[in-house]
């Protein structure tokens, strides 16, 4: 879908992107992650052709990215904004027409979306009369109205209350199911794990990690487990197929953080522990994207 190759972007005195290459597959949800100032917004602006890279190329479905692709991309910038004095319906139609829709198409689609999000009564309201959350909803509609093949969302959930964030999330996933490729840009990792198929991690203008979310997390597995059992604290001797990292007792329960010995399986842990106490929970600790993010970023520092 989108092939970003060796992008370099230099701003006065500082390099925003240094030789960044990313491949994004059609129909996937892609997470562009990184702390503030990593270069995410610079990259997104380049994909949106708001700015041009100093060097490097981008291909859209195999074609070199050019002005004709603008109409096939939808962009929700991090800093939202609409004309304050303009009526909301008229404004959305205007923005959609800038993306190449005819007036009639834009109106009928906008009405449809308004019905779907139950905001029909807003059509003639001016933006300044709406709450922040309402403005965000309106802007979301403006972003997706021309049914873009590629949807670029920069921090899409900020500013939404949990209920509306959930509605928007559902709409995004529905668009994805209908075939749209989606790029999320965010520094909030927890939203990524459930939504994204794959990610790229930017840090200080470099791409430091890229790949399938599951695969990345698997590479960060290190055989750490959490085991919880009932009753009094048991002595774990050296025969155990694991080493104890930490031990805590909680409301008559004991929690063990343990690292499995090489060559052993989860079953070995269980068969060692079962005669000793009643096991209530065992769970593998896979680092969250957040931990991977922090670990990778601090490692590269």
């Amino acid at each position: 879908m989108l092939s970003i190759r060796n992008i370099v972007k230099q701003y006065a005195g500082q390099r925003a992107l240094d030789d960044v290459s990313i491949e994004i597959e059609t129909g996937k949800v892609f997470g562009l992650l990184g702390p503030n100032g990593a270069g995410k917004t610079s990259l997104i602006r380049i994909v949106n052709q708001i700015t041009a890279p100093d060097s490097g190329e981008i291909f859209f479905n195999g074609e070199k990215l050019s002005q004709v692709h603008v109409e096939r991309i939808g962009y929700l910038p991090e800093e939202r904004g609409l004309y304050k004095k303009m009526e909301i319906g008229e404004q959305i139609v205007y923005l959609a027409r800038l993306k190449g829709l005819t007036r009639a198409d834009a109106i009928s689609r906008a009405k449809q979306w308004f019905r779907k999000l139950e905001i029909e009564s807003w059509w003639n309201k001016k933006i300044e009369e709406l709450s922040k959350g309402m403005q965000q909803k309106a802007q979301f509609v403006a972003t997706v109205l021309h049914e873009p093949e590629l949807l670029i969302l920069d921090e899409p959930f900020t500013g939404f209350d949990p209920v509306n964030a959930d509605i928007i999330k559902r709409e995004i996933l529905e668009l994805n199911q209908k075939g749209a490729t989606i790029i999320f840009s965010t520094h909030r990792m927890e939203s990524v794990e459930e939504l994204c198929d794959s990610i790229a991690l930017l840090h200080l203008s470099h791409k430091i990690l890229e790949g399938n979310v599951k695969a990345i997390r698997n590479t960060y597995r290190n055989g750490t487990y959490l085991l919880e059992y009932e009753g009094a604290k048991q002595h774990i001797n050296g025969d155990a197929p694991f080493t104890v990292l930490s031990e805590t007792s909680l409301d008559g329960c004991q929690q063990l953080m343990l690292k499995i010995n090489t060559g052993n399986k989860v079953n070995d842990i269980l068969s060692y522990m079962m005669p000793l106490a009643g096991i209530s929970r065992i769970e593998e600790i896979i680092p969250t994207m957040n931990e991977i993010f922090i670990r990778t970023v601090s490692k590269s520092n």
Binding site: I50, A52, E71, Y75, P77, L82, Y83, L95, R97, L98
Partner: protein
């Protein structure tokens, strides 16, 4: 190109539909016409509004007895009382002024209960001077008839020689047309330039600009805004002209009727006053004014006006757009506004005093060539006649000028609209200009 049209459309309609636009469009011609009618009315009928000043004359010299002429605002009455009694009675005797002429004719005094008005002093002074002058001349043995001839007021008929023969020069009309059109251009460049700047700042502050330039090029957005606002300006002009013409036609017919009526009355009065003496037909002022307006080629002047308004607007609004893109709010524009508007202010100031009196001086010619100053300078010169080659050169330079500023402004604009929180300095702007895409 289609998208630029869309942007023009939005910029145009969002402004034209505003209440402030509609109010301004109606109000300005009404106020303008109203002001001029009032001035005209006061000039004709002003005497009726001011009180008739009563002046008591104590003439110890006997030179002026019954010779000072009453006018619309001054009524003389002569008194034989002594100076001192008249002076003590003055406050309560109902006269506004007390004119004391000593026998020696030196140290003539004018007393009044309030501060005397300058026009009254002038009128009394010139009355006294005139009588004294003719008396002395007569005393020197000069015949009254000769005197009357000698005091003939001279009125010049200014003519201009052209290749096509002579024609009336109508200097005063040229003055008025030149000043008016220069003033209009000056004001409108400011009004519409500022509107463009505000529009750019609004888009930047509300952050919608990033959404829009993900659909169109920054230059298209800037161009659309400039053209849209420019069309608002032209719409406003056309409406102003139409409303003014309608209003003045309506008002004109009313005034003409009134004036004709007043004139016949005036003539009758004068005939009564002067007996059967032949009275010269009073000037038909309106006709004279109409005639002199016709002597200025209207179509040519309006065409030049529109050209200089449009090109001047394009030149300056592009700069205004660049300024708007460089700042985060309107207060920050101050540091850029002054140097930008300096050429305009300078030219306008020089126009009123210098160019209008020396339309063919080399300074005037230079100012009417430089694109930053020519819209104003040239409009001052045009009613006086400008050689075709100068006009052509100026227009060519103007076109080159606005193409250049639009290009420069576009390069600053495309970077500026995405810069937040950075205090823009001139150095910064130069840097932006040299940014690659």
């Amino acid at each position: 190109m289609n998208k630029v049209l869309l942007i023009i459309q939005r910029e145009y309609f969002s402004r034209v539909r505003k209440k402030s636009f509609i109010i301004l469009t109606i109000l300005v011609p009404v106020l303008f016409i109203g002001m001029f009618s009032l001035i005209g009315y006061l000039a004709v009928k002003g005497d009726d509004f001011s009180d008739r000043k009563k002046i008591e004359v104590i003439d110890e010299s006997g030179t002026f007895a019954n010779k000072l002429k009453n006018s619309g605002t001054i009524e003389y009455s002569y008194s034989n009382e002594s100076y001192t009694t008249a002076k003590t009675k003055f406050i309560n005797d109902g006269y506004n002024y007390l004119l004391h002429i000593p026998a020696s004719l030196s140290g003539i005094e004018l007393f009044s209960d309030k501060k005397p008005s300058a026009t009254t002093i002038d009128a009394v002074e010139s009355g006294l001077t005139g009588i004294l002058q003719s008396q002395r001349l007569q005393a020197a043995g000069i015949d009254t008839a000769v005197l009357a001839k000698a005091q003939q007021h001279v009125s010049l008929v200014a003519k201009q020689m052209t290749a096509n023969g002579e024609k009336d020069a109508q200097t005063y009309t040229a003055y008025a047309v030149g000043l008016l059109s220069a003033f209009l251009i000056y004001i409108c460049l400011f009004i519409y330039g500022t509107q463009v700047m505000r529009g750019v700042i609004e888009e930047k502050v509300s952050r919608i600009v990033e959404v829009i330039i993900s659909s169109v090029k920054p230059f298209q957005l800037m161009l659309g805004k400039i053209i849209g606002v420019g069309m608002v300006g032209i719409t406003q002009f056309v409406l102003w002209i139409v409303i003014s013409i309608v209003l003045s036609m309506v008002g004109g017919t009313l005034m003409m009727k009134n004036a004709a009526h007043a004139r016949t009355e005036q003539v009758a009065q004068m005939q009564k006053a002067t007996g059967a003496q032949a009275v010269p037909p009073p000037d038909n002022n309106m006709a004279v004014i109409m005639q002199s307006i016709e002597s200025i080629p209207i179509a040519y002047t309006i065409a030049c006006f529109l050209f200089y308004f449009l090109s001047g607007y394009l030149l300056y609004s592009a700069i205004f757009a660049a300024v708007g893109s460089a700042v985060d709010n309107e207060t920050e524009t101050q540091q850029f506004m002054f140097p930008i508007t300096l050429p305009l202010i300078f030219t306008f100031a020089v126009s009123q005093s210098f160019i209008i009196n020396n339309p063919d001086s080399s300074l005037a010619i230079w100012l009417s060539m430089i694109p930053f100053t020519s819209p104003i300078a040239m409009m001052i010169r045009i009613p006086f006649g400008v050689p075709a080659w100068q006009l052509a050169t100026s227009m060519l330079l103007m076109v080159a000028g606005f193409l250049f500023t639009t290009w420069v402004a576009g390069r600053i604009y495309r970077v500026g609209i995405l810069m937040y929180g950075k205090k823009a300095s001139y150095k910064e702007l130069v840097k932006w200009f040299f940014y690659k895409e």
